[in-house]
Symmetry: C2
Subunit: 470 residues, 2 copies
């Protein structure tokens, strides 16, 4: 496909063009602005912040003063080891090193420079070997986005919404020189709006997020992820900017590593409220059942990929079951789940079998076998670690949820170096082209750990911003 | 990166240009020629046949007359299921359907049209649910290559060696129009030879194989696969043609799925002779030991990926051990392995511990535990299926081999459709551009089963050839 070679007539000039207004893009814009560059921030949607605004707002950081105060011994190296373990060694080690070494500073930056407030607790998400997960006061990434916007306002910058990236333009020295965009774009009409060429004197920073809702792109990499599979992401999380980066010769990496949430319920849109019941109650205290056979089929506490793959293999939504004792042991409230019908209440196993169309004899046998395992402290079927306060499934009422994986995170994207420069197919930086956040690949490898995405956006967004301005 | 837009002065014209002279390229050339097209076949190396000539020459085919004669019940659907299971569902289903449905015909074509001779036996390689693996008389892919060459000669075609692909050229309608090559290329001098432009009136077929020996490309996708990791492939198995296809906008798929052989010995080059000892003797009848701990660390009969990843995690070559009873039970001769020093003979565990620097107390304990498991018919450590004729490790002498994974196959490449047309980043066929064999991706998904690679080359090579000529 052709790359524009002749010098276009520019409609506008700036030092740095940032594409995308999520956590990574705004971090880049703030740093580029702080370094004295003029910055144009472009967002394709009507609202700003992208998928970052619906993230859970949890930031992983290692070796922080807050951990030290709580006597939590942690180092960037330890976080590095955790990320490489989860990533099955596919992670680019130098990028993980940078992310982990700068994680504490990035968190502190959101506090000191942006004024983000965090809750007092420090959590330990799955795959992290110590507590290092810091949650914003409102348990949402919007808390950081909001403060980034304040900062940008102080710096005299604002986000231009409804501007779609059409082409990344290169000059005849193979340097990224600007962008062709459509102003007044109306999602999803790809030809809507008015074409405009913006010259980027210093750099273009790509921070357009993942492609969880790009059915064509994700099925090209993992054909199981058809339209029938939902996503926890905003519907606008598509891959047109990633494709454009590949078109100009960026090196793709790990595109087929697409993370599914096995805790997702098909009876609600997006991330929803069901995952809390699944993750904190059904999986640790109860069982996951194949409705065709009435049997368990996977370790309910296995990793995300193992569980999601197993449910997809069944070929239809599976049933997560727990009882009243499990709910109590978890310390969680399921009132909202019950009210919205995401979780259903049952008085007998027969009732469960009828509603979910499970063969009742095998369901009874499954519960019986599981309960014996709980009594003996060892799961005879899948070696699931039996949690210390687990009890047999017999304390009425029972609770059930339908579970069918949703696309949660796309680990793959364009390959960057430690300066956040996008690398080409010969592994050389593409001059004037930077990227950060979920549009990049290689940092998380096979599996992105919970709370590491925001750290990624902050650390590499800031690096991209600083370097693009230099 | 720029794509040539202006019409070049052509030095030569032909209907079809085939890049690569392995099984896929020659299958394409034969079919294109049979359809009446003029064909130019280009090979970068001095010798023809590429990596195909050192393959084991085993072809998977389902629903063949030979299976029926042996009362083996097999269907393309069954082979499809086996491939999707091994591929973890990442395989493009339509491509697998074509491969399996045409597998029997492809095998028959090599017999009837090419005159390839096969051994009488039908093997069942790992991951195949029935015997469907047909071995050429000389147990090498060279048997097929040789017959392909005869056929080409009959058709009046020959292979031009030492011609390196530099650029795939496109016209201003985004159609592949020809190639820029270097004639008289001297591997690995990328600038050697004389530039020449060959117009392809109908199509260019890319059949350049995998990138197992392209250190830069493979480490960009899997950073563990540094220069320290060997390969079973020819040294010329590099990715410059794949990069060129990506540069003109081909859709990449599964680049990070790179298959390692856990049965490879670092004390010899290439595939070597050690894998036979490892696969047929040490893994089923003996144990694999981490020399640092003296302990087993993985199910020796787990899948290739599980075992190779586990050895890499250890960080140094691990030791495969067996005894005389294992060798006898396997029915294999290890004379060559012993003569070349790939396998070593020992009279005591102490001797093994000294040579491989294993802590002797834990090695003794490991063997003791394993032997108890063999006696009881159940492996207490890794649930390895204990083979029926297994005996405890105590029948002198012992035998040992060092094992360190080698890169064996790159599952990823460019995405094609069922007509073998290369797809672009918008999932549309690139006009005039076909591909077949290991340079393509998406067919084998996460794991290519043994003997399916040649079938892939034959089936999609022929499809590419037929369609490119039309």
């Amino acid at each position: 496909m052709p790359v524009e070679q002749t010098a276009p007539r520019w409609d506008e000039e700036t030092d740095v063009v940032v594409i995308g207004s999520g956590l990574a893009g705004l971090a880049a814009a703030i740093e580029a602005g702080a370094a004295g560059s003029s910055v144009v921030i472009l967002e394709k949607m009507k609202g700003f912040g992208g998928n970052s605004t619906i993230s859970d707002g949890v930031v992983a950081a290692a070796g922080t003063p807050m951990q030290a105060e709580s006597n939590i011994v942690d180092t960037p190296r330890r976080m590095y080891d955790d990320m490489l373990k989860a990533g099955l060694g596919l992670n680019q080690p130098e990028l993980v090193r940078i992310l982990t070494e700068q994680s504490s500073e990035a968190l502190q930056w959101t506090i000191d420079v942006l004024g983000v407030k965090y809750r007092d607790r420090i959590d330990q998400f799955g795959g992290h070997s110590v507590p290092r997960c810091f949650t914003t006061h409102n348990h949402s990434g919007s808390a950081i986005i909001k403060q980034q916007l304040h900062k940008l306002k102080e710096q005299g910058m604002k986000i231009r919404t409804r501007v779609l990236l059409k082409k990344i333009l290169m000059n005849n020295r193979n340097r990224v020189s600007g962008v062709l965009v459509q102003e007044g774009y109306q999602y999803p009409e790809s030809e809507s709006g008015v074409e405009k060429r913006i010259k980027a004197r210093k750099a273009v920073v790509l921070a357009t997020g993942g492609f969880a809702n790009d059915i064509a792109l994700r099925t090209s990499q993992d054909p199981r992820l058809t339209r029938e599979i939902g996503s926890t992401n905003k519907f606008s999380t598509t891959g047109e900017a990633l494709r454009e980066a590949l078109r100009i010769g960026a090196m793709p990496v790990h595109l087929s590593w697409i993370q599914l949430g096995p805790w997702a319920c098909p009876d609600e849109k997006g991330y929803g409220i069901g995952p809390d019941f699944a993750s904190y109650i059904a999986f640790p205290y109860g069982i996951l059942v194949n409705p065709q056979t009435g049997r368990r089929f996977v370790n309910e506490l296995g990793d995300r990929k193992m569980r999601a793959d197993a449910i997809l293999q069944v070929g239809q939504p599976c049933i997560g079951l727990a009882d009243e004792a499990g709910v109590r042991a978890s310390g969680k409230s399921i009132a909202r789940c019950l009210k919205k019908g995401i979780v259903k209440k049952f008085d007998t196993l027969e009732e469960i079998a009828e509603v979910y169309q499970i063969p009742i004899p095998s369901l009874k046998k499954t519960v019986e076998t599981f309960n014996m395992g709980v009594d003996r402290g060892r799961d005879p079927e899948f070696d699931k670690p039996v949690v210390s306060n687990a009890t047999p499934l017999k304390h009425l009422p029972y609770y059930g949820i339908r579970l069918w994986p949703k696309v949660h995170h796309t680990m793959g994207g364009v390959l960057i170096n430690t300066r956040a420069q996008v690398l080409d197919l010969s592994h050389e930086p593409i001059d004037g082209f930077y990227a950060a956040g979920e549009v990049t690949g290689g940092i998380h490898g096979a599996c992105r750990l919970g709370s590491c995405a925001i750290t990624d956006c902050l650390v590499f967004g800031r690096i991209a911003g600083r370097n693009s301005a230099s």
